[in-house]
Symmetry: C2
Subunit: 345 residues, 2 copies
Amino acid sequence: MKRDSDSGGKQRPSVVPTISQVAKASGVSRATVSRAFSRPEMLTKETVRRVKEVADKLGYVPNQVARALSTGRHGNVALIVSDVANPFFPPLIRAAQLRADQAGLCVFLGNSDEDPAREELLVGRFIGQVEGLVLASSRLDEEHIRRHATRRPLVLINRDIEGITRVLIDTAPGVAAAIAHLAELGHRHIAYVSGPTTSWSNQQRRNAVRREAEKRGLTVIAVPARPPSYDTGRLAATQIVASGVTAAIAFDDLVAQGLMAGLAALDVEVPKSFSVVGCDDVLGETTYPPLTTVSARCADAGDVAVGLLLSQMNGGVSGEIRHKLNSHLVIRASTGPAPVKRRSR
Amino acid sequence: MKRDSDSGGKQRPSVVPTISQVAKASGVSRATVSRAFSRPEMLTKETVRRVKEVADKLGYVPNQVARALSTGRHGNVALIVSDVANPFFPPLIRAAQLRADQAGLCVFLGNSDEDPAREELLVGRFIGQVEGLVLASSRLDEEHIRRHATRRPLVLINRDIEGITRVLIDTAPGVAAAIAHLAELGHRHIAYVSGPTTSWSNQQRRNAVRREAEKRGLTVIAVPARPPSYDTGRLAATQIVASGVTAAIAFDDLVAQGLMAGLAALDVEVPKSFSVVGCDDVLGETTYPPLTTVSARCADAGDVAVGLLLSQMNGGVSGEIRHKLNSHLVIRASTGPAPVKRRSR
DNA sequence: GAATGTAATGCAACCGGTTGCATGTCAAGC
DNA sequence: GCTTGACATGCAACCGGTTGCATTACATTC
């Protein structure tokens, strides 16, 4: 019964030393080595020092996978977004990463490409090896989300499901400010260039436009740009110009940018003859002309979401949290006074 | 000695059934359950069917972490990029994801934020739980990269280290075409707006500009935009205009876009009085005017890199691979005939 | 000096799978 | 009818850590 699994000659000689090798080399038990790394306060300083020294020499690093198996803590979280390539997400991803990093966590990124089935598949793959999930603009139906939430701490971004922790980018105040801004500039008839009907953000924005416009006596028409993109925005220009409005507020910056391109192609000058407002503020000053937009602080959303996830993972927060992020209007150069009204068209 | 670990009442009653529970419920051994999932061809069809049925009923899913511990295959790969927020990366990330997904792999995303120390930290966290790594635009020094490559399959993007599998986006042909294009339009003096000196891409582009310009008898000046961004591009405009050149080719699209904004601010019309060429083709037609640029097919790079990683993980490809991706010029509206020369300035 | 308490370390079971080998079953071959 | 072999399944060790409990060593107190 020779069971000297430690000294056993493996095919890979020097790579990846295990806890047993460190234990043997430093003349202590595996338990002590383990504690030197995970609970050093239980040990003599001297012991910790010695073990770590040996470990260093051998190039030992605790095996995360093995650790995860026995403790159930993997040190991983998952972030699933609906479209990595949409400029709304990269800053959000970056902020989420940063926050997770600070907590020593690794992050899995999933890209659902707007497809619920894909998203479900990804969740399935991730859930076994993460301690928590963040779903940004999830396209999953409520039932699925609830089920996953029973298995793991889960935080939603821009999805409003009761009982599940969520962070919502509340663009209503910013949109309201945008309407006020346009009203002050003398615009009376405006268009809302709308996004996906299933999107929580779109519903929220459209309602805010309606409400505020009504309050100020403006008339609003809705023109779709679906899916929201530069191209659909551009294509919407004709219809919008034909409708006789003098300003438009778009579902997002990409649509707004497309719209401006469409207007330019029709020889409609922005902001001289037509004003455009975007949403999300993801393009900064890079458009021509620089876009007036509603800043949605998407980076903060990533940061906050991971923060909430962390506290849920640790403390096991009981109460439901519905975190709202404020928004505000950033005025640049795509909005200006309403053109003098022509008598007839 | 009552050691009935299987039926033992855990605190969590129904969640996450284990292989033992499935084994018991279906009246077979754990080994058989294991094989029903990982090597069904070893078992009777009937057995597989029965086990899977029971597993389904119980909601059993094999635990990835446990599996990884015993097999050493985690089913994960890591992708580290230097800046998620740079528009060059999202398409690359997306393509890499897609490819990994098809192979049933989960991907960890790391963001080094251009910081070698951070990148090293991330690699350390990932390496224990992945089967392979892709480093895009790595800022690590060669020695570190080589070391990691001995531990795990590793593929580089836009980093040229001998002996390590790498995919390089070869923009030289596209840049050469751009110079030719400008020469044909009558430009004689041009500027190269350069990026990070340590960047492989930048060196390659600058050299291509030099070489091709010399061949055609154009003169080139170099103007820095560091770090490469919209803002540094914008700021470079003054110096460029003052130098008397009639066209510029920028390190990337962002710089080019900034440059166009800077030119507009100086009342220099593009393309009438000045031509601008970008690089990477990540902005499509969204600039004003639409940017002539060198298409670098960054999405393909992600796809190819993961593909190479996979083959390295499986077959254990022996020979070194240096995969070059071609580039070509996309002509849009930011380039035009050189303005008629004024006698003096 | 014996009893008591406390701090440091070791022992061995356990996490949930995988897998080499042994065992058992059944049918074909002589 | 008994041997032989192929095939299906079970046994038990193993992956590399963690942790409850036992043990040991040492200091304190009376």
